[in-house]
């Protein structure tokens, strides 16, 4: 299955973007997010980017105030996911230009569009930034 969920959380633990590729009830999501955010945010830069939680492995990366957390299966290639996070950030960067937390917050729908072009059903669909951004640019032009 690969990617189970992608979460963007700020330093205060507020969720800025959440996309799940398996169905969890609201309560389960709340509990899960609470637990992993607590675990990951407490870690230092000298520690590795992988945290084992329940049956997930969380691969995470921090960019300024924002944490990108990706829940994957235990046998997923961790470094590939770690760089996939960076690819997502670079893609956002290319679109927003110096992307920051507020961009993602106030352009929730764009963040969703990008993610939708990159991941489907927990699998990676596209890794070319040009291709990922094409539909959004098309739309921007139209409006």
């Amino acid at each position: 299955m690969g990617i189970r969920f992608i979460l963007l959380v700020n330093k205060q633990g507020q969720t800025r973007l959440a996309q799940y590729y398996e169905y969890l009830t609201l309560e389960e999501r709340r509990a899960l997010e609470g637990e992993i955010v607590r675990k990951c945010l407490a870690r230092t830069d000298q520690q590795c980017s992988f945290v084992e939680h329940r049956n997930y492995k969380i691969v995470y990366r921090r960019y300024a105030s924002l944490f990108f957390l990706v829940g994957v299966d235990n046998d997923e290639n961790e470094l590939a996911i770690l760089e996939f996070i960076h690819l997502l950030v670079e893609t956002m960067d290319r679109h927003f230009g110096n992307v920051c937390e507020l961009d993602i917050m106030f352009h929730l729908e764009k963040a969703h569009f990008m993610l939708e072009e990159m991941v489907m059903n927990g699998c990676i669909v596209e890794t070319s930034k040009t291709n990922i951004l094409a539909p959004i640019q098309l739309m921007d032009k139209a409006s």
């Binding site: 169905y23 520690q47 960076h86 489907m120 890794t127």
Partner: protein, 1023 residues
């Protein structure tokens, strides 16, 4: 811009952002939800733009963790909006808010389909993505052909095809039948020729899913995968857009190597050479570079290459190269690489021959146990646990013990358990083992489960040499201040039993022992008090001649507890007091505990995720296979005569003797009084055969055969004894003359999973079956087809039903004309749950050839199941309501045929167990519901939960619950048979195999230990 156009949404988001606390946020959200609700109620007044705005707000609120239980319909309705912006919102929000179980989603299927088959590419993409994310079974059934068409269409652009590939993957997971294995291997092979890396990335994910279920079908794709890998590794024909920090799509490289790991080997020499060339290049050519991203990406590829090399069982040289690399990794500064080094080294332990090379890194691994990062420490612990054997157990266990006092609380229990297991498994001598466990309890008492101290008591009890040592040790610990209560328990227990062995040592007189133990009495909890009372009684018993002073002290304590609030303690106090006044009688009652029977360590059972060493594992596997074959009662012994006693009336008392005989040795008796009607026409033939009675050696043991013979005496008397031994001999010979041309066992197992097909075939006849099942009734039709140009004579069919089935076979004509097919309906009614199998005893004559065969009939347990899917709340309600044995049974099953979760889900589906995805939050678990129908239970709900261990597919834990204990047990065993060994691989059962699946039934009602406070009882119950 879409959002700048939605001012209301921006305002709402800023409002939320400005909230000072959670409470304010909640108020603001509630207000907004109220607002949206009112607007939606008055839907006519809403423009698509407004709808879109509100739907985004809902998504935002949902993301914040608030329940949004309305408006789903509005979100779904946007899908059918004509304009792109609205449609897009509809699709995206629908996939975020809804899941496949929502009814309105089904209502949208048509709209979705129109978008998929329509001409608008962007609409196609939206629809494919939504279906790919949340499409359910209905989608699979109605959309799969369209999606396939898009994927393989040459006129479709890559942007649509890549989505179609992943959409198909989802549909395939929902219903594997949508991808026809035969047709797809060629198609897949063509798809892997794709040049566009976006499409290839998606296709590779689809391929991994397909190949993981049917490796054999996709051999032709293997060279293609190697080609792709070569293309990427050599950077040939790769667009700049698909290189990441100079590395051609690391993700596709990783995925391709993952796909290759599903093939057991690479046989073709040139493909193998090419693959190893690439792997060698990756292994040697990956350098550490400054740029973090580049470094990560290249190492992602490197680690996957390592995994593939390990999988392919490369030459030893290459393996050592891998271990050397990993050895380097576990010592680097970069924490990620260190972590992955340890993780992969643990995987490497599975490769034979490299353990010794890994051991060279032991010191470094032990250092990692003290790493500042818990993730790394966990990996180190796992690795140490895995690499431990007799040669290094002492070092490793002592390290673990040392680490225990500083370890994180989160890890201590696991650590204690693992140390205890290793100490037991690899103890060079038993006194060392006792030392380790006592140290464990001393250092981390809170984290030492009861199992651990029960186990040490068991060892001490069973090893006389150990007893004085253990008693002395226990005595030493009691001198320590601030003792953990578990230590008090174990010391008191051991000293109670064995302190007399210390009698001559200093400060070990009964009085002193009593005094030091009694010091702890005021501070311990009730279960420990109970143990202490037993210890006192034992001390009294051992003090010979009695010491009046000690006696007085102990009696005073017994007296004190005589009216204690806890009934267990009260009873002990009263009884011990009374007994200890009896003098000599006490000696008998309180004699030393007898040895425990050898049992498998409860600890090992507990450490479910612990790797069992391979020898042990295969032993377990072997054992479970033996059990299975017992259950199936497959015997090579052909009956001397396949006929059955039939009396003139045409009514036969079922030859239950056979069943009894065959099941006697299993410790199981059953009555069988079912009456089956037999075709009057065939009574004649039955008559002819009737006198040829012989022992029906259904199953081997001579005793059984003898009893069968004795039981059949009435039958013998009822038949004319004219036809003598001669006839018996000839017919006996003849009955072997016709050989089946199909694998009967395989046929039977296939029919257990489907409802029509061939049951039996030989050169003269083919027997087909078609079945329909409704609740606890079934109607089978037997198709008896004569394949020849001469008639089949003396045809006789007799049903041997097990006790739980009522079966009635209609008339079977004595003769089947040439080239004719006869249909014989068979009515079945299920009375209760059982795994026993009905048998069709079939015989005929063709010319001089006489054929007789006993065929198992596929009227098995799962035919009376009907899968259902329960909503989560309902499921959990039922699950909780059915608590504990015998209604809910749990068992750890080992020696499971390794299969992936989708494979297991398929298996379950074919057994009519409705797998409910996502009900269990743990992705390694599987939850299924089904309804069982029988006359006694009527419709009864059964809940099944399987917990698998991704690191060891050969074991799992299964829990079954239903309202009927027999059903629960039978269903559990039934599923187990399928998990342990796929029946298709059963060795071809001899044609004569009657196999009324006399299961090794042992009424397995797990007993809750009575008198839970009694250590003896506890030990007996738990070890």
């Amino acid at each position: 811009m879409a959002l700048s156009g939605m001012r209301g949404l921006s305002v709402f988001i800023s409002d939320i952002r400005n909230c000072q606390n959670k409470e304010q946020e909640r108020l603001r959200v509630d207000k907004e939800l109220g607002n949206i609700r009112t607007r939606f109620k008055n839907e006519k007044g809403l423009t698509p733009y407004e709808k879109k705005k509100y739907v985004w707000k809902m998504l935002y609120i949902y993301m914040l963790g608030y329940d949004v239980d309305f408006g789903h319909m509005e979100a779904v309705s946007l899908i059918s909006a004509p304009k792109y912006p609205e449609k897009q919102v509809g699709y995206i929000v629908t996939s975020c808010l809804l899941n496949e179980n929502y009814d309105f989603l089904r209502m949208a299927i048509n709209t979705v389909r129109n978008d998929i088959i329509g001409r608008n590419e962007t609409f196609q993409c939206l629809a494919l993505t939504m279906v790919g994310n949340i499409g359910g079974k209905e989608f699979a059934e109605s959309l799969a052909p369209d999606v396939q068409k898009l994927l393989i269409s040459s006129s479709c652009r890559p942007l649509v095809r890549k989505k179609a590939a992943l959409c198909l993957l989802r549909l395939y997971r929902k219903n594997p039948d949508v991808v026809n294995v035969d047709g797809w291997s060629d198609r897949m092979s063509q798809l892997l020729d794709e040049r566009d890396l976006g499409v290839l990335t998606s296709v590779m994910s689809l391929f991994v899913a397909l190949v993981s279920n049917h490796t054999e079908a996709y051999w032709n794709c293997l060279p293609k995968c190697v080609k792709i890998l070569e293309r990427l590794a050599r950077n040939q024909d790769i667009l700049q857009e698909y290189t990441y920090y100079g590395i051609p799509s690391p993700w596709l490289q990783v995925k391709t190597m993952r796909a290759l790991q599903y093939f057991p080997t690479v046989e073709d020499p040139s493909t193998r050479r090419a693959l190893f060339e690439v792997l060698q290049r990756i292994l040697m050519g990956t350098d550490v570079v400054k740029n973090v991203n580049k470094n990560n990406a290249s190492h992602a590829v490197l680690f996957e290459a390592l995994a593939l090399v390990m999988h392919l069982d490369a030459e030893k040289e290459m393996m050592s190269q891998c271990v050397a690399l990993l050895g380097k990794f576990i010592a680097v500064r970069e924490p990620n690489i260190r972590y992955l080094g340890l993780e992969n080294m643990t995987r490497m332990l599975l490769v034979t021959d490299v353990q010794d090379i890994i051991k060279r890194h032991q010191a470094q691994i032990i250092t990692s146990l003290k790493d500042p990062d818990i993730s790394i420490r966990r990996r180190a612990l796992d690795l140490l646990y895995g690499m431990c054997d007799v040669t290094n157990a002492k070092d490793i266990v002592e390290e673990l013990l040392q680490y225990l006092s500083t370890a994180d609380f989160a890890m201590r229990e696991e650590l204690a358990l693992k140390a205890a297991i290793l100490a037991e498994k690899f103890a060079p001598d038993l006194s060392w083992y006792v030392d380790v466990i006592l140290q464990l309890i001393d250092k981390a008492g809170d984290f030492v489960s009861d199992d651990i101290w029960y186990r040490v008591v068991q060892f001490v009890t069973n090893n006389e040499d150990l007893q004085p040592y253990a008693a002395a040790k226990a005595r030493e610990y009691l001198d320590k201040p601030a003792l953990h209560e578990t230590m008090v328990k174990v010391s008191a227990y051991i000293l109670g039993e064995y302190s007399h062995l210390l009698a001559r040592r200093p400060s070990c007189s009964p009085k002193e022992i009593f005094a030091i133990i009694n010091e702890k009495l005021p501070t311990v909890s009730m279960p420990t008090v109970a143990i202490l009372l037993s210890t006192y009684a034992k001390i009294l018993m051992h003090t010979q001649p009695p010491d009046p002073e000690l006696q007085e002290q102990i009696w005073a304590i017994f007296k004190k507890y005589e009216s204690y609030i806890d009934v267990e303690i009260q009873q002990r106090a009263v009884e011990y007091f009374a007994l200890s006044r009896k003098g000599a009688a006490l000696m008998d009652v309180l004699a030393e505990m007898p040895k425990f029977p050898e049992r498998q360590s409860a600890l090992l059972k507990k450490a479910e995720d612990a790797e069992v060493d391979t020898a042990e594992q295969s032993a377990i596997k072997l054992r479970s296979q033996q059990q299975t074959s017992n259950a199936l009662v497959v015997t090579d012994q052909r009956p001397v005569n396949g006929s059955l006693p039939v009396n003139q009336l045409g009514l036969v008392r079922m030859p239950s003797q056979n069943m009894e005989a065959s099941s006697h040795d299993q410790g199981l008796t059953k009555e069988n009084g079912t009456v089956s009607t037999v075709d009057p026409a065939s009574t004649q033939s039955a008559d002819i055969l009737g006198d040829l009675l012989g022992p029906l050696a259904i199953e081997g043991p001579p005793a059984a055969a003898v009893s069968a013979e004795q039981n059949m005496v009435p039958g013998l008397e009822a038949t004319p004894d004219a036809a003598g031994a001669l006839a018996l001999a000839t017919v006996g010979d003849q009955s072997n003359s016709v050989q089946p041309i199909v694998n009967i066992a395989e046929r039977f197992h296939a029919l257990c999973l489907k409802d029509s097909g061939v049951l039996y075939e030989d050169p003269y006849i083919q027997i087909g079956i078609k079945a329909e099942w409704r609740a606890h009734h079934g109607r089978l039709v037997l198709f008896l087809g004569n394949k020849n140009t001469s008639p089949l004579m003396s045809v006789r069919a007799l049903i041997l039903p097990p006790t739980h089935l009522k079966m009635e076979l209609s008339l079977v004509p004595e003769t089947i004309p040439p080239r004719a097919q006869v249909q014989c309906p068979l009515e079945v009614m299920n009375l209760r749950a059982s795994r026993d199998v009905a048998v069709l005893d079939f015989s005929y004559k063709f010319g001089t050839a006489m054929a007789s065969v006993k065929l198992r009939l596929p009227a098995v347990l799962n035919k009376f199941l009907q899968p259902i899917s329960l909503p989560a709340e309902e499921f959990f309600l039922q699950w909780k309501a059915l608590s504990g044995p015998p209604l809910k049974l749990q068992e750890v099953v080992r020696g499971v045929k390794p299969m992936s979760l989708p494979e297991m889900a398929n298996l379950f589906a074919s057994l009519h167990l409705g797998v409910t995805p996502a009900l269990d939050t743990n992705p390694n678990n599987l939850v299924a519901c089904t309804t069982f129908y029988s006359e006694s239970t009527r419709a009864m709900l059964c809940l099944i939960r399987v917990e698998t261990d991704p690191s060891d597919r050969t074991q799992l834990r299964i829990t079954i619950a239903s309202g009927d204990p027999t059903l629960t047990f039978e269903l559990k065993e039934f599923i187990k048979e399928y998990l342990i060994m796929m029946p298709a691989s059963t060795p071809a059962a001899a044609a004569a195999a009657p196999a009324p699946a006399a299961a090794p039934l042992q009424p397995q009602s797990p007993i809750t230990p009575a008198g839970y406070n009694d250590p003896g009882a506890m030990l007996a119950g738990l070890l």
